[in-house]
Amino acid sequence: MNSQSSVVSHQLVPEKQRAGQIATKDTLIGKRIPKLDAPEKATGLARYIEDMKLPRMLYGKILFADRPHARIVNIDTAAAKAMRGVRAVITAADIELVPFGFGQDNTALKKDKVTCTRDEVAAVAADTPQIAAEAVSRIRVTYEDLPVVASTDEALAEGAPVIHAKTPDNVPFQFDYSHGDIEQGIRESDVILEDTYTLGRQAHCCLGTSGIIAHFEADGRLTLHSLTQVPFLYKNDLARIIGVAPEKIRIIQPPIGGGFGSKLDIHPFEPICVFLARATSRPVRLCFTREEEFRATPTRQPMVIHLKSGVRKDGTFTFRDVRMLLDNGGRTSWGATTPWISMRTFSSLYRVPHVRQHVDVVYTNNIYACAFRGYGNPQATFALESQVDSLAEVLDMDPLELRLKNAQKPGETTGQGMVLGTCGLADCLETATQHAGWGKKRRNVKTSKRQNVAAPNQPDRTSFSRDPMGSASTDLSSHRHIAHGIGMASLFHVGGGAKIYRSDGCGTILKLDDFGGVTVMTGSSEIGQGSETVIAQIVAEELGLSISNIRVINNDTELTPWDVGVHASRTTFIAGNSALRAARDARRKLINAAAARLKRKPDDLDLRGGKVVERSSGEPLESIGKIIRGLHFGRTKNELVMTTDFYEPPSTAPDKEQKGDISACYAFGTHVAEVEVDLETGVVKVLRICATHDVGRVINRLGIEGQVEGGIAQGIGYCLAEELKVEGGRVCNPSFTDYKLFSTTDLPELDVSFVETNDPAGPHGAKGIGESPLIPVAPAIANAIYNATGVRMTELPLTPERVLAKLKEAREKETISD
């Protein structure tokens, strides 16, 4: 058959023979598959929330407090209500106030008191967005200002103003974790370092701003066009807030203009929009302007991390003692729980026998934070991986060697009870450093670093001789104010979901039509990350179909089965496994039907190129469509080919001590950054990043590269430039003019590679990747800056001002010691 095929390949090939040619096992796994929804997005036909209109739809607008801490004395809505085109004005007095949020300290509208500038005080629905905006500006609120708590220090000071009456000490949550015995760890250490790291507020900056459309049907059912990342949890929580039974709520997700964790919580604007729709009996759309997006959506958690670590002379880690202080802002979102994830990096990126962590989450009158790609892990990794480099320096060890010595290995159970079936950390360390030319570049830059700090303009030659590396043979002639450096950082993250909720599962319904077209209904949402394409690939692979035969429906709770949500880098792993199992069931059914029809053994058959083929030869025997039609329209029995699956990963929820195998597998990676530091301006330029990730197995190479490249870009922004500045509780830079997002010209050279450890639990061996690429970027760059200049940066972002200040400080120290 094969030889015949090759002979006829130059002619017009009869269909049966052509099928024979492609029936060799040609896998889709690991290929570069363009995103299924890309054509719709490339042509401008994708309709995002701001593009959608329903008949008789009104426009909603919110009045925000714009005061950090104040008592609401009176709200006068008369002038707004009197405006032509205004259909409803609501305040807390008009709705039932049901507390929500992780701390149950938020309500849709605020009644007696506002605790941050973004607090929602009133809302309007009007015929046009312009009328709604004008009406909001005519609402008069009388406030009695209260003392503003602008920082965690102020919040914890004696006699500090109480922000929420039920929390008199301003500390709503504390998290503790430990394994081993810290005192023993201290006794066993030859070197102990203690440092403080400060992490700023990064804004998600989704290009599409937040929005929602609420619409009540005649029978009281509610349809929401919502951008939520967690439609099923959202339905349940929202039901309670708005007083509609959850089974009467339908969530439809239009294409989402960026998520990154920002859409994990219910935000007040969402129930507000429902209340406006209820008040007017008309559909209402509420979309944020960019300024509102900056002022009234949460950010990454700002925090201060005190980290104390010990190590033996031979480089063996002994203990780690962590204290974290989170600025919670005026309300509590799920973001307050990020310490759950950060503690896993401290406890388990490396083997360390004694770990203790204490976290205080502190109310202030600042804006609040929520989930953001990495969920506390970028902060923890910045602290940990910065300090690992400091330890290496004290030990006079190559940071690579120190990391390799302590790196987790496959088969280990970490101190926190996480079982590492596969672990490619050592491979990641070796691959990334090899790609980066670590040994060579690092030696070269080390020789130049001291002199650069000592004298950017007029090199102080005496300082060379005291260079700890004992080398001063550096070319100073050309770029003496530019210092080069190279640094690395690794990461540990969940790779097979995270059992935080009581189920970490995902459902799939798979339906084949009578021509071999497949509809996959999956609970997992698409937020740009490419899950729909990965799921289609997995199904197409199993059923021997082309990717164009697969249609994925993932955005309507009336059709799709339950899923816990898009977070924790879980979709490829969890939704992928569920899709795989549903496809396997369908495959079995098709093969068995074909075997009966063709009088062959099921084991002798395979599905390839849209056909049932003989497994050994690849010879096509029947089209898949024909087999399906045989089942549908059978003489004696009629059956659909429709399968369902609910996949619950084999992970366990953490116990009260936060120990347990929280994920079905774990992700690792290493980034090496090469930077240039301008010693006169403090500007840091990232020249190149070599990123290697243990992803289990690559499913869609195009998609996974995109995840890594995009994560690195967000990580560079987090490290060097991005900070939503809040002073006295007020946001200072709510625009892209003042909040710097990097653009094409800031892009470094990227070298992205993958370690494929083929995790037995993953679909085709795959682990999650979504969050990992952002996590180690900042410490890799900070370590490179240290390597370039001898200056240790401990406060993100590393703006030119901060770098320059540290450089000056270092020069002054050098001068004094001379």
Binding site: G703, G710, L741
Partner: protein, 156 residues
């Protein structure tokens, strides 16, 4: 409020409509003509999501008063595909994985289109500079630059 008449050409079609004097080109495209492929990202010319071609030059539609477009020719993302087939530049974005959430994509493609019209064989540096005014939060830009370069190389 009195409306003002505006006549211009959008994607090759003559259009006449009455608009408020303060309306921007973005308002008219999105609200009056329902050409919602052009996105609102910031309203102050900082993100490029509303990039369209006005008389051969790329502009931020959010900054252009609609009435300044009297008699002008405007090309939006909806005007690129023809006969149910994507423009090769759009196809290049799809094939190179240059699209994730897709919100910046129409503006990015229009900026790239203008760049290639002006310079059919750009260097990588030219492409980066030409797209500097268009923000993307998902991709890290690498695949966007690759898509434009590939088109410049053989697609034109």
């Amino acid at each position: 409020m009195s409306l003002v008449e505006l006549a211009f050409v959008v994607n090759g079609e003559s259009v006449t409509l009455s608009v408020p004097p303060f309306a921007t080109l973005l308002d008219v495209l999105r609200d009056d003509l329902e050409l919602t492929g052009t996105k609102y990202g910031c309203g102050e010319g900082e993100c490029g999501a509303c990039s369209v071609i006005l008389d051969g030059k790329v502009v931020n539609a959010c900054l252009v008063p609609a009435l300044e477009c009297e008699g002008a020719e405007v090309l939006t993302i909806e005007g690129l595909a023809f006969g149910g087939k994507m423009h090769p530049l759009q196809q290049a974005f799809v094939d190179h994985g240059a699209i994730q959430c897709g919100f910046c994509t129409p503006g990015m493609i229009m900026a790239a289109y203008a760049l290639l019209e002006a310079n059919p064989s750009p260097t990588e540096e030219d492409v980066k500079r030409g797209l500097e005014g268009n923000l993307c939060r998902c991709t890290g830009y690498r695949k966007i630059v690759d898509a434009v370069l590939s088109f410049a190389g053989g697609g034109a």
